[in-house]
Amino acid sequence: MAQTSETVEAVWRLEAARVVATLARYTGDLGLAEELAQDALVAALEQWPAAGVPAKPGAWLTAVGKRRAVDHFRRTETLRRKVGELGRELAIDGEGYEADLAGADAAADDTAIDDDLLRLVFTACHPVLSAEARVALTLRVLGGLTTAEIARAFLIPQASAAQRIVRAKRTLADAGVPFEVPDGPERRRRLASVLEVVYLIFNEGYAATAGDAWLRADLCAEALRLGRVLAGLMPAEPEVPALVALMEIQDSRRHARTGPDGEPVLLLDQDRAKWDRLQIERGLTALVRADQALQSAETAQSAETAEPGPYHLQAALAACHARARTAEDTDWPLIAALYGRLVQQTRSPVVELNRAVAVGMAEGPEAGLAITEALTGLRAMQDYHLLPGVRGDLLFRLGRHAEARAEFERAAELTANTRERALLLARAAACGERPRRA
């Protein structure tokens, strides 16, 4: 049966991560593995349209990649022992890939591939790489995205996207990053780096504005997909399903968070009928899995109570809003308490500001305002428009309209987003006339 190149590319997307992961273990070099996998894709694009997709396309691609690896090592003559190793795995002199296929198939047991995938994740997200390099490399090797797709998603020229990937591979090679999953405390630190990449991809799509929003919303879906893959690979790590829960619940509000003209709609003003209930359900299910993983971790550590990680707390926060049928139903005391725990972990003034909002809802504007007082002196918060924005709201509710107006105007000055500025100026105007100077 004749196949179109579209079919080949679709198969590629299914198989890319596993092929790259297997080749990276064989060669011990992620950068090389990625190139070999690309060679295999080119071979597939040449052969499959006429010959049809092989019964085991993943094994076929891997076998071609391994063969190219042998060619590569022979050519470079640098790693004779590598040729020896690979030569035992492959029928080097054989014609076609059938002999390789049998071997590849036998080796392709699922646990082994999962282990390789995990190594791939941790290597592509290695902290030695910049955040944008990790993001590009992860989308490339785990997501199976083309350079063109990555460029489109990040609104950068294709050459820049290609450059990011080339540089990332070189950095990994120069730093001699081994293709392995770290153990012990190192693992926790590196896992944070992995999850950060996934959440960065998600936020890149989530923060997209009207014009490109539909295109970039795909990044949210891509991040969710990666998150689900990770959750399958690391079921015992509570932060992994927690991140999936957080992303599912945030993404469930996609259709509610902008108005007809693309203007942002704040969480409490959103039409909750537009929230995707099925997606919320998936998010809550993932949160349950995170809770269970945390409980198992507690049992394993016996005495010590495991504290939920930052994604876990954020997912629990998102779930609070998702469970409330109306804005009035929101459990503000619980949200304030969760923010309190998150502040303990992150020491972030932005999280503390969120806590001020929640406390302002739970206990009244006075209590919220008191928390913001401590933040106004912080250098890090000097140019952060949401601080005066929140203070303006709390002051307004206290009936201190003149002060509220000044805060809203300050916030409008600080924001770079034109729609947000309009919103803030409207709130300033709603505070009434500016008092005349004497």
Binding site: T7, R13, D218, A221, E222, V229, G232, D271
Partner: protein, 139 residues
């Protein structure tokens, strides 16, 4: 990213309430696990035979008739579904092709209308009306 509903049709066996043989069952679970691990599976359910269900016929604006199962046209009966999210129809088809089925079984793959694709027929007024309805129903 587009979503796809994949329908599996019933036959006399499924309509009679017969469970698939254990090995097929295991293969199907393994297949679903594969989909889940690849991050493309959003939902999957099997449906009970039509005998357990019913139809509601809308005779005119007021009158409704409830027709108890089983439904006779068993070839057209949906016996289960998957909800997949992939980057393209081709990718969805590649996943569907890997289902552990044989013997002329047919899966139907249908793209889901996304909000962004609803045409001019779905006017702002209609959207508004649908939202109001959902609100009355409590979301």
């Amino acid at each position: 990213m587009p979503r796809f509903m994949v329908f599996i049709k019933g036959d006399e066996g499924s309509e009679a309430g017969a469970m698939p043989p254990t090995d097929l069952f295991e293969e199907m679970i393994a297949y679903n696990e594969q989909l889940a691990k690849a991050g493309v599976l959003l939902a999957a359910e099997g449906l009970k035979p039509t005998q357990a269900g019913a139809k509601v016929r809308f005779d005119d604006k007021e009158r409704r008739t409830v027709l108890d199962g089983p439904f006779t046209e068993s070839k057209e009966v949906v016996a289960g579904y998957w909800l997949l999210q992939t980057s393209s129809l081709q990718e969805a088809l590649e996943w569907v092709k890997r289902a552990p089925l044989s013997g002329g079984a047919t899966l139907e793959v249908r793209p889901i209308f996304e909000m962004s694709e609803l045409g001019p027929e779905f006017t702002p007024e209609l959207r508004e009306a649908q939202q109001q309805l959902r609100e009355q129903l409590g979301g």
